[in-house]
Amino acid sequence: MTKYIIRRIIWSIPVLLALLLAVFLLMRAIPGGPFDFAGEKSLPAATRRNLERKYGLDKPLATQFINYLGSIVLHGDLGPTFRQPGRTVNDIVGESFPISAQLGLMAIGLALIIGIPAGIIAALNHNTWADYLASFLAILGVSIPALVLGPILVWLFSLKLHWLPVALWGAKPPFILGFIAIPTKTFLEHAALPVIALGTSLAASIARLTRASLLQVVREDYIRTARAKGLRDRVVIIRHALKNGLIPVVTVLGPMFAGVVTGTVVIEAIFALPGMGKYFVQSIGNRDYPLIMGVTLIYAVLLVFSNLLVDITYAWLDPRIRYS
């Protein structure tokens, strides 16, 4: 098991490196630099050269990349931002990442709390109205994108009913342990709509998967054995069937986590939340190289390690994988 984990961690390093290099080259390949503002605001050539020298943009590309990597690995320093004087990328990521994390984690929590029980209920009542209703709602939930659900929720609960705020986030740093917000009334009110908008499709796909997988598992011989022993239905499902039935759910948690991470970009755009997604889109437009690369790196590390975590959980649940 340890060997498997080490192998997987080592394997993720080239992925991260390649991604960083690709982002680096792609950003530099875009015509125009961060300091040549067009039109009236354009800088004198000498000023621009000075700025470029200050940020090391006059050095060869290879040197720039190695310096950048070096400062990340040695000091955990993601560099200065080009467009927000006096603030570093670390500052911005440190402020915005917790908000994205809160949003994403709450959405995943909501999805698991609703999705798994809904899937179990549907599977237990296979081919009854409860199953049909759950399945229909689930496919509806999968099909309505956050891009549509977000505005609908805002229109209904904020603009028509005036129950919840239209936008913005209800908590500011510092957070407990760096990312846990105190669940005040303001926080919950602001979080409700974005979390529902992000969590609904996740809940729906978890429900679908749980149902399908449970239906397959309950046909297995060992379930029949458990029933034949005279165990109650509830015990058979919870103690015997769920254990195997949830394996596929664990395996999609990886891709699902990727969906949450990118989903926060959409939700943050809709609800004007000061999370990392906002800075990602903004920095791309501004050609703020260090900020783009910093945010990309954080996203990539998150996704690579969530995949790793899922693979490890999977290998732990299903011993056959470890030895292949």
Binding site: A18, A22, L26, P31, S143, P145, V148, P151, I270, A300
Partner: protein, 323 residues
């Protein structure tokens, strides 16, 4: 008397029908037709494709025709069936042309993913050994990339290059194609570059499980050439699961395009992508909710239809799931 005769003739007809040799495809199609939701979804998609193809004849106005002073018209006002957007452009016409954007992205991305993925997966699975090992390591590597992030970055690059004047050579040529397709060409490229990976894995898995079957060995024993074995014996068997998973992936392509256009990295205005329309409608949400409702309903219904069809296809093509 007549009732009995009728019943008897019906039974004979049924028996004859059962005796007729049926291909697995016809079988699957019959199965699909029994699933009412999937059939309805299929009909909806076909209609949508027709509407998209014949958009100039179906749409009452050109998608970019503005009516000055008639912005944010309600449905029915000034003769605009679904109203107008902030520039006074007819929403019905725009949503119809928007179907072109969404569907072309869905089908082009699916076609690329199917061809590249199946070719790659089949070669890898059939060759086996070291070739398979190397090809799958490449896939594993690509699989680890956060696709949407990479797609966003690529779109940024493409957009910047296509807006820059001094670009020459290959990129200039690609940009001109992109311009003529309303900014969609680069969306095709970005989606096509990454979405074959999952398909390659599925195809390889299928090939691995089929290539040891007796019918493949028999074909090899009588001297059938490798390309022919793959084409005639393996492909018909593996194509089913591939099509199912591709159909279920198509909503993802549609949503990716809508999202990219929403944040300004997809179709170029005034090309009416549903994502752009949602973005524009969101700005007037408080006073004019119908403007966002039109593209939102279109997007949701289309994604829903692909999901229903995909589910139905899976049930129809996978006999193990039948009860």
């Amino acid at each position: 008397m007549t009732v009995i005769q009728e019943a008897a003739s019906r039974r004979i007809a049924r028996a004859e029908e059962l005796r007729k040799p049926r291909s697995p495809w016809a079988d699957a199609f019959r199965q699909l037709l029994q699933n009412r939701l999937a059939t309805a979804a299929g009909v909806f998609i076909v209609l949508l494709v027709l509407v998209a193809i014949f958009a100039p004849f179906v749409a009452p106005f050109p998608y970019d025709k503005t009516a000055f002073g008639k912005g944010y018209a309600s449905p029915g006002q000034y003769g605009f069936i679904l109203g107008t957007d902030y520039l006074g452009r007819d929403l019905l016409s725009r949503v119809i042309y928007g179907a072109r954007v969404s569907l072309s992205v869905a089908f082009v991305a699916a076609a690329v993913s199917l061809t590249v993925g199946i070719t790659y997966g089949t070669i890898s699975g059939y060759a086996g050994g070291q070739v398979d090992n190397i090809m799958m390591r490449i896939v594993d590597f690509l699989y680890g990339l956060p696709v949407l992030i990479v797609v966003i970055l690529m779109q940024v690059y493409f957009k910047a290059v296509s807006r820059h004047e001094g670009v020459t050579g290959l990129m200039a040529w690609l940009s001109s194609i992109d311009q003529s397709l309303g900014g969609l060409f680069f969306v095709f490229i970005a989606l096509g570059l990454f979405n074959w990976i999952g398909m390659a894995r599925i195809a390889r898995g299928q090939v691995l499980s089929y290539k040891e079957h007796e019918f493949v060995q028999a074909a090899r024993a009588v001297g059938v050439t490798t390309p022919r074995i793959i084409w005639r014996h393996l492909l018909p068997n593996i194509i089913g699961p591939c099509i199912v998973s591709e159909t279920l992936a198509m909503p993802g392509y549609i949503l990716t395009e809508a999202f990219l256009s929403y944040i300004g990295l997809g179709a170029n205005p005034p090309t009416p992508s549903w994502g752009i329309m949602i973005n524009e409608g969101y700005k007037g949400l408080r006073s004019y909710p119908h403007v966002i409702l039109v593209p939102a309903v279109a997007l949701s219904l289309t994604v829903l239809a692909f999901n229903f069809l995909g589910d139905g296809l899976r049930d129809a093509l996978d006999p193990r799931l039948r009860e």
